[in-house]
Point group: C2
DNA sequence: TTGTAAGCGTTATCAT
DNA sequence: ATGATAACGCTTACAA
């Protein structure tokens, strides 16, 4: 050990012992006072607090963590921090957890599965629990994470495993309502813009849309990614399907697609209806404004933190929260018209 | 103390002692092996590693932190995580720091000064260093943070204090170039959309624009915030100034403004030129695409991490990095035309 | 209600 | 090159 300060006023940061000594109480009492545990007389409490203030003492969080086994840190892992869906989640978790005295370690897997596993494990070394957003990982990896013996809450994916709690948005119902809206407008051929394949949300959305085939809707598919660029890139392919409406798996790709359609002289919604998913703030201010599905990320995040806090307090795992979603009908969808020759 | 496992295979997680015992070496040796410090024979290194693998041992990061005084965590504090400027920064820091084996504690002050101070201090309890993005805090608060005795890197603000390192974007030069572009187009009356007042960036941008008054440019001001909604809200006020071009302090507010102008039948850029700042991804895909200022946030973030790493390695504080910025001319700016009566 | 002291799992100093 | 062992600063049985 580096020989540092030895008791009293000298140099470094004051320790619990300095306070105890100066206040003529035991370290246990000081510890109790700062832990807020009941059973310390008002007299001593005051004396400890005064002394601590004089010395500028604050508990050493790392030492605390080591001794107690709890860090008051939670980890949150997202596949892409640059996606509004995820930073909205993080922002709210930051807020809620912060209010409860927790700090938040953030990690971004960049949609990489190995990274997801790696980062998850790494976060759990420090954190009391882990919130995994939009996990693509296998149940096996999930169990491995759980093997660390700490609570895990999964957001954006229904998990069968009764050992994790999960928060999901009602993707299926909302998607059905959205597509029904297109059908009601008179669309008979819809193209779905697939997102990153392994996401559970993605599968739910696709399942809901696919279900309309039975009712006579023609459904084409185009694969792409989760970003504006990804949507922009596949415009020609989309046009090639001959559809009159596009259901994008998220707002970002819908926005990219609309921009590309616009560049090609395909007017939205006259020549092509486009829907997104997430209701990110921009969608409302675009021209035309974007028809999409709103699902309160704040609500989801709060639910995730609530579940996590419960687990940390010893509640049994396995809770399921479903956040309601609803279509938001704006100007990017309309009845199909006679399509001009798009060359 | 909770009576937990006592030596050997029993229950809980294996400790360094378990490994040492089983491998017939001292804990010091095991520690050295896992610290990667030179001076352990190949023979013992192998034995330790093997045993550790058998036992599934990994060093306990919290214990490590306590003993060494280093956590391999850095904190990053932003005024608003939902602002693309800041999550882009965070994302890159996550990446760079992660590659160097650091975890990242994120906090969001929601533009609140007291929160900025509070959170900064709180982060520094755990973190080896703090990256403060777009700090509005006073030099006094900054010094208080530095008083924690850990390195602080400030991004988005020039700091006179030679005790902190800082990374700034060249707001002044880029802004001047942007406004010159408007002047060259023939604009004679420009309105500036102010952002949150205390941001240094904001002041730099305004200073650059204001400088054009001396050259005969008429410059009006409208105060607003940093979000799309904020820009949307002040459209009427902007129109009221009678300007032919608007320079928004960031892309978000520019986008909101453009949407509102569009709703009022004011065409961009025909009736009103609009510029943003930041070059967020959306700007490129809007219609019309947004003239703005690009400043590589990735570059800034990497520079910030580099500075931080340097400080952690004991380099002297006070470094200044200036990231170049450049105007990106797109379709939202054009020569002013005869303005229709906007009622 | 308060105090004593044994951990928590490492690192790092000092011998050897 | 390796080992023994005292910190690191706190929490928490257990005793008083």
């Amino acid at each position: 050990m580096r020989g540092q300060r030895r008791d009293g006023v000298e140099g470094g940061r004051p320790t619990i012992r300095d306070v105890a000594g100066r206040a003529k109480v035991s370290v246990a009492t000081v510890s109790r006072v700062f832990a807020g545990s009941a059973g310390v007389s008002a007299e001593l409490t005051r004396r400890v607090l005064d002394t601590a203030a004089q010395l500028g003492y604050t508990p050493h969080v790392v030492a605390r963590s080591l001794a107690s086994g709890r860090s008051h840190i939670i980890g949150i892992l997202v596949p892409n921090l640059a996606n509004p869906h995820f930073y909205a989640l993080i922002k709210q978790v930051l807020h809620d957890a912060g209010r409860d005295g927790f700090q938040v370690l953030v990690a971004d897997s960049d949609e990489s599965l190995p990274a997801e596993r790696e980062l998850g494990i790494s976060l759990l070394q420090r954190a009391d629990g882990l919130i995994m957003c939009g996990p693509r990982c296998t149940p096996g990896v999930l169990r491995e994470l759980l093997g660390q013996g700490r609570p895990v809450v999964v957001v954006d994916r229904k998990i069968d495993d009764p050992v994790v709690s999960s928060v999901v948005m009602d993707a299926h119902g909302a998607m059905r309502a959205l597509v029904q809206h297109l059908v009601d407008l008179g669309h008979e051929h819809v193209t779905y813009l697939h997102g990153p394949a392994r996401s559970w949300q993605e599968q739910e959305r696709w399942r809901a849309l696919r279900g309309f085939r039975r009712r006579g809707l023609q459904v084409s598919e185009v694969a792409t990614g989760a970003t504006v660029e990804d949507g922009h890139r596949v415009a020609d392919e989309v046009i090639g399907t001959g559809c009159t409406a596009v259901v994008a798996h998220n707002d970002l790709s819908a926005i990219g697609l609309m921009a590309a359609l616009n560049e090609r002289g395909v007017r939205v919604p006259e020549n092509m209806s486009v829907t997104g998913y997430d209701d990110i703030p921009f969608g409302r201010y675009m021209s035309p404004s974007l028809t999409t599905v709103r699902t309160s990320q704040e609500e989801a995040a709060s639910a995730a933190w609530l579940a996590m806090r419960g687990l940390l307090e010893g509640h049994r795992a396995g809770s399921r929260t479903v956040i309601a979603s609803e279509p938001v009908l704006r100007r990017s969808t309309a009845a199909p018209r006679i399509t001009a020759d798009l060359g």
